[in-house]
């Protein structure tokens, strides 16, 4: 079946079997391998993307259900001029190690900062609670999100 959706501001479509998840459609049909397959059942968060302003485990959403909606993936975080402040702070503070949880983590972080520009540490921990990381202990990730939040607030203000 033909599924059409907007991904990172671009209209994309693909002909996919009906049981295809949004994750599989992004990775295998649209060439966007940023979102990862870590468990395929919504436990690990490596597949997190933003659908119509909500962060979602794309392995749990059928591509058909995403039809016509507005998706943001990790590939859409930077614009052609500049890196997103989250990408800058994550890099500078060494927040990611193997990086596999990274795309999901950054999307959850962006979703948080878009709604809550100066989150407290407990609020950050809560926002990331669906994104598992085995390498970093989350410490530098939390620091980087605080850092990016401050940068975004002072830039936006």
């Amino acid at each position: 079946m033909l599924v059409q959706l907007k991904v990172n501001g671009e209209l994309r479509s693909a002909d996919v079997p009906p049981e295809t998840t949004l994750l599989k459609m992004l990775r295998e049909h649209l060439g966007l391998t940023g979102a990862k397959l870590g468990c395929d059942v919504g436990d690990c968060g490596t597949c997190t993307v933003i659908v119509d302003g909500q962060s979602v485990n794309s392995c749990l959403m059928l591509a058909a259900k995403a039809s016509g909606r507005d998706i943001t993936t990790i590939e859409g975080l930077a614009n052609s001029a500049d890196l997103h402040p989250l990408q800058k702070s994550f890099e500078e503070l060494g927040a990611l190690q193997c990086g596999f949880c990274g795309p999901g983590m950054l999307i959850s972080a962006k979703n948080l900062l878009d709604k809550n520009p100066e989150p407290t540490v407990p609020e950050i921990r809560d926002a990331l609670s669906g994104n598992l990381c085995r390498c970093t202990g989350y410490t530098k990730i939390i620091e980087a999100i605080q850092d990016a939040g401050r940068a975004m607030s002072s830039a936006g203000a």
């Binding site: 990862k36 395929d40 001029a81 500049d82 596999f100 085995r134």
Partner: protein
Amino acid sequence: MATTVKDVKKGAKNLTTDKDLTAPAVKPLTLPKDNPVIYPLTLPESEARRQTPAVGQRASRPDGRLHGLGQTKYIDDLTFPHMIFAKVLRSEHAHARIISIDTSEAEAMPGVLATLTGKEIPVNSFGPTLQDQPVLADSVVRHRGDGVAAVAAVTEQIAADALEKIKVEYEVLPAVFDSLEALKDEIKVHPPHSNIYTSKVIKKGDVEKALAASDHVFHRQFRTQMVEHVPLEPHSSVALWDGNGRVTIYTSLGRITLGREDVARTLGMAQSKIRLVGTIVGGNFGGKNEITNEPILALLSKKTGRPVKCTFTRGDEFISSTIRHPFIMDYTSGVNKEGKILARKIRLVLDGGAYCSWTGTTIGKGSILAPGPYNIDNLLVEAYAVYTNKTTTGAMRGFGAPQVCFAYESQMDDIAEKLGMDPLEIRLRNAFSEGSSSPTSQVLQSVAVRESLIQASERFGWKEWTQ
């Protein structure tokens, strides 16, 4: 129409007099708004990366930039033209003889291109110390994670469906799950061999005499559990051949030199005909240090003439990839009334799972580290690893150190409590210094345990802390 010399000269003349090209290129580019770029046009420079000297700099990682952009390619992100997908069928029993494997119904499914069983693998065994593990079990399965057959199909879904059509006839055998039971050797996992497949002894001084002379003797048994590495990236590989009979395997394996040797051995091929390539491993922690599917995918690729990819499911990661050894640890320590440890006697029983894997290293390190970073003149460590019909235990961050540290540090606090001493005090009284003799009588250099104890206590505020 062939270009004549005249035409070329004419062309050249135009180039050199073309006004736009002789002018300096300062005209700003205006890119259309929807111009797709793969990275932003302005990228931050890292100061730390450009400093000399380089050691000690908080230099950012180049892969950190790519992680943030979502551009890091892990093995599962790779695709190749005409790539197909493989899945592996795992054992239904913890211990059983394989009577027959019938793949005909699976092969008949539309979209299934090939199957593979253990009998087709030229040398069906591997392992870093003992080659006791089959690539695909062909006669006996020893734990539920053992692979028994593999399928390659045009989509992952068809390959998964085809697994259900493979008929395996088993003769269930009695199984042993408890490591202390396994020590009795009544049910053997690898007959005729004993279940005790490796052991270690470290002996120094006279431990019984010293225990008898101690003012206090402490004894306790400690146990640790089965845990998994849980790398966020599941194991993944892609195998493909070229027209010259060379196979390239892209793999999440952390040890490609060893991997190539193992693939060469199991497939009976020259190493020069094999190429192993890694990108970045999405978390290893010890679980991706030996081959898993690589020879299987190489053979399936050869059979089908197409690149074959296989990525473990999260379930496969738990049941089929290696886990940490559960330890049963008996610690007996003799101390004098000043708190000096005179003797320590340790027995370790390692649950060695169905296959050896990295047990040799784990039992070695575990035994050496078991007494702790303490000056103890009279020592006996006896360690045994036994086979059980459970998930293969392998290398996991620490090779036995986290387990024995739990035991020896718990006992230190027991000793401190009984003698009315501060936990910091008892440790400083016994800890290694520069030049101390290790449990194996090695003279230690660059020792920093006392410094770490004092520094940590100061940072934490150990003495001032109140409940």
